[in-house]
Symmetry: C2
């Protein structure tokens, strides 16, 4: 069951904007979820979108703001005063508000912060701005329920009620000491079944719990939360003080982004772009890899030039270069993709040596099967002399083995040096394997035919 | 903060197994999270792993079972009697139990089901077995809290307490009519703040809520839950009856799997495999794509053969074939990856025609930049005659434009016909673009040089 934007709805909205019929506009849009309104705004021009923004209440527009495409959000924010922006942010959770502030220009940022009404909220937001985007601090929020270990159950329940007011999903109650250091967690069930309201919290709380440091990488937090099946995890600073909380919906975004990024890198796209981004942005993400591939191509031209001597007598050797290069590229990408995923999911076990041995066995098996097809095919389909067929066949096996070793080794090497191994997949592997493949092929040919 | 398996722990565990010191073994392992014990078992041989399995309590081993690598789970299950397996399943949530039963052979399946102790639980599990794996029915569980719209608040609270007993996370209370049809949901807050316990539920429940049909695709459910930021969503059958519930942690797995699968397809791996799978499994996933690429390679050999006439006079044309083929492949993969992600994230807007126009502009821009580098490079780095340089340059621009159109068009076409567009990326696109690229290149050369 999902709302679908109809053309009729869009034209109705446009008409109402034209008529400046704010009342009717509010009536129509109030029934629609903010995520869907964001989609409607994406279909309108900037003026109309901003108009709607000013008509609706800030508790609704704040949520819409989060769902908008980046460029539309930027454009709408540029048409709002710092005070209006602050009104939106007052409605948002701390981490969402901090994310939006981070997108603003330096001078507006300060003005917006000074216009925030809720002082506690403002402090929390400013605090969050300190952390790097891809760390636990960068994705956590300050909304959480915490109680002091020295309180009794009665005080605790009272305090919890006050704190929980502003929190949509409680998940867990954290226990801290006087210095705000995280000591453990409290189960709501235990709290409610404790017979005496005078029981000290320190007698009932659970001392064992998962937490992460504020500097932990976001993908690491995602891995821990997935592994232990957690819906929320507390975040502590260097002194062990409870500074925030990360919930599973934040982690869903991290997982999605990380996977999208790996996929794009494998396809030779180096920045987070979408099909609807501008041609300039898409070019910036795509061109660098193509230039790399082109320079690699220059090398293949030179390598082939080295074997020019074979052209007169064995010209048809050159017919097989794209085939050899393609096989090297494909095998290399397969091998590196498996390693990249293994590293990402932390499922690689055993030593490097064993892994390379396994890859050699695997590629030998695949290589022999493919070489047999090639040998038969070259004879019956391509009508090549037996000798050339034999050379291509031997070359194919060698190229497949080497390509798979390169594909396995390079991402592992990058990972060792703290570089994202996904960089290895895509154009980088295909280009280097093209070069190696062609070099190996013609070297074998030269060895056998002696040109 | 995460537990890390140490070599010392592994050897301690192995020793305790050897000594058959069950008591100490239990003591050591009881402090460790089940997800971590699963990792320890992965490091042991099957006999030792099974031994631990029999020592620990079934509430712990049941959870461990879920976390094990597929082959180890299969192996351990094969060493347990149907009664022992049923004991494990009695401890699990319905959907987890159903997933494990689905992996069993047909004859054991029936025996295990007949050994299940909790009849209601068994009924629910059998019910779940009916649904296809990648649908809402396949990922939902039966654990949920539901109340009848005709009850009053008092009855409702009493019933809820009983139902919530077996559920780790309540999230929402669903309201149904006498026919079990989903009518709405109840907020726990509203329920507790209603002044009279005699108030009818029908007076307080929220009639608007998101739900999905039991046949909905799992990726669709994931999209809806992400869009509306839901932690749980109810599932209804064809008659609108409430049959289950999907929670966000089930969806995290769906998102992860879907992203992994797209990534693997882009890399030319057609089944869900991991680095630690057997060589046979890896070959099954990798070889088909390589065979496809090889057959594509045959075509490139034939295509080049068509232009054999050029070899004597313009042999160095052949030096550029890998370069042209590589550029065609890289551009094609970039274009198709952007479309595949756009389709997956539902962010593609505008008509097919506009999209192709945009792609042509983008690729012309990239093509001209790359061709300029190539033209200069071919002259100064590769020492090729101006004429050949010119031909290669013109060919590169044409090839880039055509390759990007193919890369854009094919995934859109596949999607239209209900085929996973991710199939288009990887070897399929690179191979077809190799062939087209080479054909275009030599056709242009022939046109200009007239061989």
């Amino acid at each position: 069951m999902e709302f679908k934007i109809s053309k009729e709805l869009i034209s109705e909205v446009k008409e109402l904007i034209q008529e400046k019929n704010d009342h009717k506009l509010e009536l129509v849009l109030n029934d629609i979820h903010h995520a869907d309104i964001a989609e409607i705004l994406d279909e309108l021009d900037f003026d109309d979108a901003t108009y709607i923004f000013k008509v609706l209440d800030s508790d609704k527009t704040a949520e819409i703001l989060l769902e908008l495409e980046d460029d539309l959000r930027e454009n709408i924010l540029s048409r709002l005063s710092p005070k209006e922006i602050a009104e939106e942010l007052d409605e948002l959770e701390t981490n969402d508000a901090a994310d939006i502030i981070a997108e603003l220009s330096q001078e507006i940022k300060a003005e917006v912060i000074s216009e925030l009404q809720d002082v506690e909220h403002a402090k929390d937001i400013v605090d969050l701005l300190r952390y790097k985007e891809d760390t636990a601090g960068g994705i956590m929020h300050k909304e959480l329920v915490k109680v002091n270990e020295n309180w009794n159950v009665l005080t605790c329940v009272k305090e919890m009620r006050i704190q929980a007011e502003n929190i949509s999903r409680v998940h867990s109650i954290y226990v801290v000491d006087d210095e705000d250091r995280l000591k453990g967690r409290l189960s709501l069930k235990d709290l409610l079944t404790t017979t005496s309201t005078k029981t000290a919290i320190s007698d009932v709380y659970i001392r064992k719990l998962n937490y992460v440091n504020v500097d932990a990488e976001d993908v690491e937090v995602a891995r821990i939360m997935q592994k232990y099946d957690l819906e929320a995890i507390p975040v502590v600073d260097e002194l062990g003080r409870l500074v925030g909380r990360i919930t599973i919906d934040d982690i869903v975004d991290v997982i999605k982004e990380e996977a999208d990024q790996d996929y794009q890198l494998a396809a030779g796209i180096s920045q987070d772009v979408e099909a609807d981004d501008s041609i300039m942005e898409l070019t910036k993400a795509r061109l660098p890899w193509l230039v790399l591939a082109l320079l690699g191509g220059f090398i293949t031209v030179r390598v082939l030039g080295l074997f020019e001597g074979a052209m007169l007598e064995h010209g048809n050797l050159f017919f097989f270069t794209p085939l050899i290069a393609a096989m090297a590229g494909n095998v290399g990408v397969q091998s590196s993709a498996i390693i990249v995923q293994g590293l990402a999911n932390d499922t690689l076990s055993g030593s490097l040596f064993n892994r390379l041995i396994k890859e050699v066995s695997l590629s030998l098996l695949n290589g022999v099967i493919l070489a047999s097809i090639l040998f038969i095919g070259s004879h019956f389909l391509l009508n090549v002399e037996i000798m050339i067929g034999l050379i291509v066949t031997i070359a194919l096996i060698s190229v497949i083995v080497i390509a798979s070793l390169i594909g396995t080794f390079i991402p592992l090497l990058l990972d060792k040096f703290g570089i994202d191994p996904a960089l290895a997949t895509g154009p980088f592997i295909t280009t280097s394997n093209d070069i190696c493949g062609i070099l190996i092929y013609f070297s074998i040919a030269k060895l056998i035919l002696g040109f």
